[in-house]
Amino acid sequence: MKILCVCGLGQGTSLILRMNVENVLKEMGIEAEVENTDVSSASAERPDYIITSNELAQSLGDHSSKIIIVNNFFDTDEIKTALEEANINQ
């Protein structure tokens, strides 16, 4: 399973999100390849899941990957709930 964390520049925000997502996945016992990038590069990629903010999800438009939205990038409970709602463990 491949997961892409996406922000505007691929420098800071998506890296923070990625580190928190990796921690949550570990806690859930799920193995996945997690990477981070900027929103324009993300348009060309086809991971299983894209995790990003509400604003940037809109710029991604109709992407074939399943898009997961997170509002508070530091809230691991919110990240966990979002991953569970996306049935990421199945």
Partner: protein, 147 residues
Amino acid sequence: MKFLDESLVALDVDANTPEEAIKAAGKLLVDANLAEDRYVEAMIHSYHENGPYFVLAPHIALPHSRPEDGVKEACVSLVRLKSDVKFGHKTNDPVRLVFGLGASSSDEHLIVLQKLMDLIGNSHNVEKLLQVESYEELKKIFGGKEK
């Protein structure tokens, strides 16, 4: 690597717009010779281009740009705003804490981000950051966790 050194922290700064708030956080990096003026312009440009997605959590903004936009060393500054500023983020507005991130391509970039996550990943710390009255008090919040 410079992480919230005394010269990189300003408490209760006046700013009326997101641009002024970003500029204030960026200016601390420029004055400390950690980033060039054009990096601050790039941070503001990124806000105009990509929107307020860098308002990462309630009250917290992390404006930044790319290493090649003029960062000399991995660094983080903090401006606490005197009053709320709305960045246009649906769930995390209004902003009070603006962390100016000087993004670097070195390993230190990961270290400063990890330090930042340790600090603001804890909501109690965020409450304290909103209330501290001096740099000494602020330093205790993140200084206490260092080994």
